[in-house]
């Protein structure tokens, strides 16, 4: 081996520096992140309702989010307008890959539950036999600083500084949670049981704030439903609007032909359609997948890039607007 190396010593010395440089360019992490176009997920594959055929027209859009990217990726992607490169946020810098995955799964679960509740409520206005009962049960921890090892993503906060969730609305309870010092009573799911623990939180200097999701527990629902999509690795809350519309249309049996409907937007319990990340990449994904209709949150409309999209763009602020649009168009 040494003899072999000696034989090519000059060549090796010449090559070693560019080699190390290229290796660095290909593996070193930058502090940048990228959002890339992804694909569509049929809502009928992730949510099922007993006794009802879920329509296959509605599709949520997922995009890929990578961080940190390498210098090589940063150079290659800089010329690609379908990608969005941006500096990593403080939260991204603080999170592990496991945290990121757990966040995606948690926000998806909350999105599914919100979609079921809103769709059942809207459908029950037309079909009184559709019933849903639920109650508020505090907050889920969506983001916590990595140093708080005793707190896990997905933990349920049921009491803050001795104030129990049952005495507050979600908006009031989240105000209590968004403070710099707090003592949280945590309910954690461990297998089939729950364990309770108290965690004291003190916000660090320049540390990102904690982030929470509401925990609405569905007590009874008729017809019954299931979430087979919880087994998928695709996560995130941005499919809320499309999931709600798909469930609603399936429940009221609205005939919308064979149109491929997609779009994006989170859903809250007031029916407000919220902002999402990667709107440009989602629009490109819809183009690649030949969508016919694209629902977009009103607040994103001014941000859409200059591109030729072949689908009809529907701007909405609330789920009620989207339902009204569907009824006017297809009824």
């Amino acid at each position: 081996m040494l003899q072999f190396i000696k034989q090519y010593r000059k060549l090796l010395i010449i090559l070693i520096f560019p080699y190390i440089y290229l290796l660095f360019v290909l593996v070193a992490p930058t502090e940048q992140a990228v959002i890339a176009p992804g694909g569509l997920t049929e809502v009928s594959e992730v949510i099922t309702i007993e006794g009802y055929d879920m329509v296959d027209n509605f599709n949520t859009i997922f995009v890929y989010s990578y961080y940190p990217i390498t210098p090589f990726q940063s150079w290659v992607l800089a010329t690609d307008r379908t990608m969005d490169i941006y500096p990593m946020t403080d939260r991204q810098k603080d999170m592990s890959k496991k945290d990121e995955y757990l966040q995606g799964q948690l926000s998806k679960y909350v999105s599914f539950k919100t979609a079921i509740i809103k769709a059942y409520e809207l459908a029950s206005l037309e079909k009184p036999e559709i019933i849903i009962n639920y109650h508020y049960e505090g907050l889920y921890v969506y983001y916590r600083p990595n140093r708080l090892t005793e707190l896990e993503i997905g933990d349920q906060i049921i009491s803050i500084n001795g104030n129990n969730y049952s005495d507050y609305t979600h908006n009031e309870f989240i105000v209590l949670a968004n403070v710099d010092n707090a003592s949280f009573l945590i309910k954690r799911s461990v297998g089939d049981t729950f364990e309770y623990l108290t965690v004291n939180y003190e916000k660090g200097i320049d540390e990102p704030s904690m982030f929470f999701y509401p925990n609405n527990v569905i007590d009874t629902a008729s017809p019954a439903f299931e979430f087979p999509g919880l087994d998928s690795i695709v996560g995130g809350p941005s499919g809320g609007l499309l999931q709600t519309l798909s469930i609603y249309v399936s429940l009221v049996k609205l005939n919308i032909g064979d149109l491929k409907i997609t779009g994006t937007g989170t859903m809250d319990m007031n029916g407000q359609v919220g902002r999402i990340g990667g709107i440009t990449q989602k629009m490109y994904t819809a183009i690649y997948n030949n969508a016919d209709i694209f629902f977009i949150p009103e607040s994103h409309f001014s941000e859409i890039p200059n591109l030729d999209y072949p689908y009809e763009l529907v701007r909405i602020e609330t789920v009620e607007q989207a339902v009204q649009w569907l009824n006017e168009r297809f009824n």
Binding site: F4, Y19, L23, L26, V27, P37, T70
Partner: protein, 128 residues
């Protein structure tokens, strides 16, 4: 047809004779050193293009074609590995410089490349 089978048999007969000849003239110590050396050199050679391809997986629309290129690259690795293996073996054992190592080198490379091809097809068909 018979002529072809005869050719294949003759080829493998020659291959096994050459392998035996090389085995007789080499020692385990230097074979291990050649294997480790060839592994190191071939992995260093393949590392940069493999990393470049892995970086390109960010183009999600092209993941399938990039995966195929990656399989081809891994198949190519077997040729690089055996090239350096016999190169180093000849360095350690000058007595085998006179032996035609091209046949064992290419035959073994092709076997390993076919193995990676089958493995690649199985993995790609599961993933995509």
């Amino acid at each position: 047809m018979n002529a072809l089978i005869d050719k294949v048999f003759k080829f493998f007969h020659r291959f096994s004779k050459l392998v035996k000849l090389i085995d007789n003239k080499t020692t385990m110590k230097y074979v291990v050193r050649s294997v480790l050396g060839a592994l190191l050199i071939s992995l260093l050679i393949i590392l940069l293009p493999a990393l470049a391809m892995i970086n390109m997986f960010i183009y999600t629309k092209h993941t399938f074609i990039i995966s195929i290129f990656l399989v081809i690259l891994i198949m190519g690795w077997s040729f690089i590995y055996y090239y350096f293996y016999y190169r180093l073996l000849k360095n350690y054992h000058p007595s085998i410089r006179e032996i035609n190592t091209k046949i064992p080198q290419l035959t073994e490379s092709v076997f390993v490349a076919i193995f990676f091809l089958v493995l690649g097809i199985v993995v790609l068909s599961v993933v995509f």
